[in-house]
């Protein structure tokens, strides 16, 4: 006779409530997708939307009060940083689902249960990446996110470009994961722990560690692994092809969610615990940030496909955010968080507009397709202009304030030349963002190839309106969001 005794560990399940909600919804949606006879064809999408909004509600409901703590034996960190990024990621998921609901009217494969299920599961991975206090959980979460995104990238079943994109992303991404895991092994070898807090404590109490080449090797490998995910030069090769080939709704998700989660991991694993060894990474990261901004912006100048252009622009934006990484102060970290939030809104918005401009089974992705759009559909043109102005960093948008914070913090930490380079880059970038606006408003409309809006569901209107409003509000009233970000930084006591 076996007698079970109930040992319930004192874990704070509220801390992972959003993830639990998302996983449950994902499983439900997946089952809805295969039992087609029992449910409506559009049910998976709307259930996924409800689940993501519920998760968003959970994040806000649980919130974060009081001192940072950890639960599940140090596996999950409960602090403002977790709260902020969970919030951003839940918003990204909800907006992506709203965009996808409309996109699915053009492409039937985007209405299936597994599409929404993978989307939610990737979101779970992202949230765990941002909240993980242990390198093993962080890695497993990264894999959950990555594998989902690989599958989502290849979702355009009839387009070879989509499968090429998925293959490229998969091969390079797997390579990046291997680097990251090797780096984690080095960190474990150097510090004897996988807990981020313990790693930081060990490095603080053993300053002689900092001269060890071992730790430098750990840093290099880890940054290479995360660099793949944030498309830092020289690990950016996959970005344009993958962004172009993936379904546009997924591209928006990939550009914002993956980047937010990967930057969160960068802050959690490297920036804060390894802060004492900053002197040994300054040069290498300086070069990386400079190249990331410059390569992204220069190549974006000559792109005719809007998805490729936005892909190179996302590389450039990763470079701007790396300025905050280099500056390394608490305020700089707040600048990074603020930027990630603005970036999420403006990029999902821009990709959302691209995802709206489709006809059955086909996308308009050439910039010349946008000719005359501004007069034909004034509201759409206006919204797109807001996103592009924000991406270019023109006031009064959130993109401007984000750049302003990041550049100021980098200046304060003494990176004058890098900030000058970033400024020049921003000026260059105005050219290609405004080129789209110019085409929308000042180009005569090519009559035979004009865009006719097919399906505009209320969902995407809400998504675009929310994103545009958020971009403007964050630009006009930045102090609230900046203080929210400032209260959410990850720091050690």
């Amino acid at each position: 006779m076996v007698t079970f005794k109930v040992i319930l560990p004192a874990n704070d399940y509220m801390a992972v409530l959003p993830q639990i909600v998302l996983v449950s919804t994902a499983l439900l949606v997946l089952m809805m997708g295969v039992f087609k006879k029992l449910v409506n064809a559009s049910a998976p999408g709307f259930t996924a939307l409800a689940g993501s909004l519920l998760a968003l509600g959970c994040v806000l409901f649980v919130g974060h009060h009081g001192a940072p703590s950890s639960t599940f034996g140090g596996m999950v960190l409960v602090d403002g940083f977790s709260f902020f990024l969970s919030l951003v990621i839940c918003i990204i998921i909800a907006l992506t689902i709203l965009v996808s609901l409309n996109y699915g009217n053009f492409f039937n494969c985007m209405r299936t249960g597994e599409y929404y299920s993978l989307l939610l599961m990737a979101g779970v991975g992202m949230i765990f990446m941002a909240t993980a206090g242990n390198l093993i959980l962080l890695f497993v979460a990264l894999e959950t996110m990555s594998i989902s995104i690989y599958a989502l990238t290849g979702f355009h079943k009839k387009q070879l470009k989509s499968s090429e994109a998925a293959l490229k992303y998969f091969l390079l991404g797997a390579f990046g994961s291997a680097f990251l895991l090797y780096g984690f092994a080095f960190i474990y070898g150097a510090t004897g722990s996988l807990d981020i807090i313990k790693i930081a404590g060990f490095i603080k109490t053993h300053p002689q560690m900092l001269n060890m080449k071992f730790l430098v090797a750990a840093f290099v490998l880890t940054i290479a692994g995360i660099g793949f995910k944030i498309s830092m030069v020289p690990f950016h090769m996959w970005t344009p092809d993958t962004y172009e080939g993936a379904p546009t709704s997924v591209t928006g998700f990939m550009a914002t969610g993956v980047k937010a989660a990967a930057f969160a991991a960068l802050i959690r694993v490297i920036l804060v615990p390894l802060a004492p060894m900053q002197h040994s990474w300054v040069t290498i990261m300086w070069i990386a940030a400079f190249l990331t901004m410059t390569v992204g912006n220069i190549i974006a100048l000559v792109q005719d496909n809007i998805k490729r252009m936005l892909a190179y622009s996302s590389i450039a934006h990763a470079g701007y955010i790396l300025l905050g990484f280099l500056a390394g102060t608490g305020l700089a970290q707040a600048g990074m968080l603020y930027y990630l939030m603005v970036y999420a809104f403006m990029n999902i918005g821009a990709f959302g507009v691209v995802a709206l401009l489709c006809k059955k089974g086909e996308e308009y992705t050439s910039i010349s397709d946008f000719a005359g759009l501004g007069f034909k559909y004034p509201l759409l043109g206006l919204v797109m202009s807001v996103f592009l102005f924000s991406l270019a960093g023109i006031p009064p948008t959130g993109g401007f304030m984000g750049k302003f914070y990041l550049f100021t913090q980098a200046l304060r930490s003494g990176y004058v030349w890098l900030v000058v380079a970033a400024g020049v880059n921003s000026v260059i970038s105005i050219y290609y963002y405004l080129r789209v606006v110019v085409v929308m408003y000042f180009s005569p409309q090519a009559s035979e190839n004009s865009i006719v809006l097919g399906s505009v569901s209320p969902g995407i209107v809400i998504a675009l309106a929310t994103a545009a409003t958020a971009v403007l509000v964050m630009g006009i009233f930045p102090s609230y969001f900046f203080s929210l970000a400032g209260n959410s930084i990850f720091s050690l006591m």
């Binding site: 596996m75 597994e114 599958a151 070879l160 090797a217």
Partner: protein
């Protein structure tokens, strides 16, 4: 058997494992027939599982055999079988790529070996090595208590992988038809 004889056998077996791994890795890289490469990979992975025994973890060694040798190599063989016949005309290796590969591997090897050799290895404070620490029971205990969250997230990884596999396969079927 006296200890010195035993030690000799264990030493010899260690170097046999090393030889097995390196020769397997060489077979995985050099022959032009991709099936030989897979078999070489399997051999190298068997050798690696031997190293896990020397490092004191029977469980990891067994899992290495079960997953890498037993499942992943099989999956690779299937992947080769569904690709186009590669052995019909094998293009010659381009010398530039070979040298580039050698260069990259050398740099990485020197870097890793240099770091490993230069490090002053010390046992972490308070860590006493006990074989029982790595018993399957202890792993089960750790997996379901301290690492319970990881454990559940792993099931998500598996789920996502299954969905990905089914979607990818469905995709290629449509292209070919």
């Amino acid at each position: 058997m006296d200890t010195s004889g035993l030690n000799f056998i264990l030493q010899a077996a260690f170097w046999v494992t090393v030889a097995l791994t390196i020769s397997g890795a060489a077979i995985a890289v050099f022959p032009r027939n991709i099936l030989y490469n897979v078999l070489g990979l399997a051999l190298a992975l068997i050798g690696v599982s031997g190293f896990y025994l020397y490092l004191g973890s029977l469980f990891v060694a067994l899992m290495q055999l079960l997953i890498y040798v037993g499942a992943i190599c099989i999956a690779i063989v299937f992947a080769i079988m569904l690709s186009r016949p590669l052995h019909v005309d094998i293009p010659p290796r381009s010398a530039g790529k070979v040298w580039l590969g050698i260069l990259a591997a050398t740099v990485f090897f020197i870097g890793a070996a240099g770091v490993a050799l230069k490090t002053n290895w010390q046992a972490a404070a308070g860590h006493v090595y006990k074989a029982s620490q790595w018993s399957v029971q202890n792993i089960g205990n750790a997996l379901l208590t301290r690492y319970e969250l990881v454990f559940e997230v792993i099931s998500l990884v598996l789920l996502v992988a299954i969905i990905g596999a089914v979607i990818t396969a469905g995709f290629s079927r449509r292209i070919s038809s």
